[in-house]
Symmetry: C2
Subunit: 214 residues, 2 copies
């Protein structure tokens, strides 16, 4: 089972690594990190982490599973015809096409979400409409062979969900135990439930982000 994970500069690392850690543990799975070119792609946190693309898109012509993560760099991917064409071409070969976070906007720009329900990071949800998709607030949305996941950490849940489909409940359960996924988050992680001071901080963080990207 060949799994391709697309990476690019200004990606959100956990979007890609959450699913990776789960899917790579499936017996028989082979994972390849793919970039527009081979080499290191850096994360949106000031480029403080580099993930290596071992293959260029020109070297990968099919996949059983495609994972498209998000992060601010998805805008550059959406503006890149060669990368969108690759996503479309790989999607034509997949058993499952998946996204995490704003990776859904890349699937949208590639024309894959037209007429489908989909999810993405809460801050980007309304942007799905421009691609003909209907945003929904579930953490995982399955439509035919397309699965979209909510923001960042939702990729872990999506990958366990997909593992059940691919390899059955016992394998998915075993992998959940291997990654000791017994989450104990300190707060309620849903944006819509956040108290005013936290909303204020989120606004400040978003403003700083816009300032930095100018």
């Amino acid at each position: 089972m060949d799994i391709a994970i697309l990476i690019f500069d200004n990606l959100t690392a956990l979007d890609a690594i959450g699913p990776y850690e789960v899917l790579a543990a499936i017996p028989g799975a082979t994972v390849t990190f793919v970039g527009e070119t081979r080499g290191i792609k850096r994360t949106h946190h000031n480029g403080s982490l580099g993930l290596n693309a071992d293959r260029a898109i020109t070297e990968v012509t099919r996949a059983d599973i495609l994972v498209v993560p998000g992060g601010y760099g998805e805008e550059q991917v959406r503006a890149n015809p060669a990368m969108l064409e690759w996503v479309r071409a790989i999607h034509a070969t997949t058993q499952w096409t998946t996204s995490v976070c704003t990776g859904a906007l890349v699937l949208g720009a590639a024309g894959i979400l037209d007429g489908l329900e989909a999810t993405t990071h809460w801050a980007a949800r309304e942007q799905l409409r421009q691609f003909g998709a209907t945003p929904v607030t579930r953490r995982i949305v399955e439509q035919g062979k397309v699965i979209t996941a909510a923001g960042v950490s939702a990729g872990i849940d999506m990958a366990l969900y997909l593992t059940r489909r691919l390899a059955g409940d016992d394998v998915a359960h075993a992998i959940q135990i291997v990654i000791e996924y017994d989450p104990q988050p300190p707060f309620d992680g849903v944006f819509e439930h956040a108290p005013a001071p936290v909303i204020g901080l989120l606004r400040k963080m978003a403003a700083r982000r816009m300032e930095m990207s100018r």
Copy 2:
């Protein structure tokens, strides 16, 4: 605030990336990935992902926060006097020294857990005793300035816990929402609760791992 994350070949990517995604989002945080040498370190899933160490241990002489992830490669780190010496030297400068998963065994080998309670991946818990530590089954264990976390995904919870201490509840809550951490795991992720067929699969996966590493 300077955060150093140690990486090495045969690491478990999510051990490092879970905390990274949280801690790098703290306003004013600077994260550096550090290896014995600069360059790409590959994960335990057949090396299918390379993370880049931007600095060698000889280039990093202090940190406010040290994060030591785990993975099968921790055995080579424990057998490497220069890396253990670096861990000890950085620990002498930190505000917080942390581990995820079997990264605790590296802290142990560096002499940092002697006389302390600690946690690690469930499969490695008893190994803590050889370093004078008392294994406990909590997901996060704080002892003075040392925080150890349970396996793999526990690093996300540990980093949010640490963020509360470093930056307060509102910042930690905001970051939890940024990474949309509203976990919806499909199963119970605790090894001790697993049904017999899942235990059988875990044994098979461990046996295959030992076969591969021969």
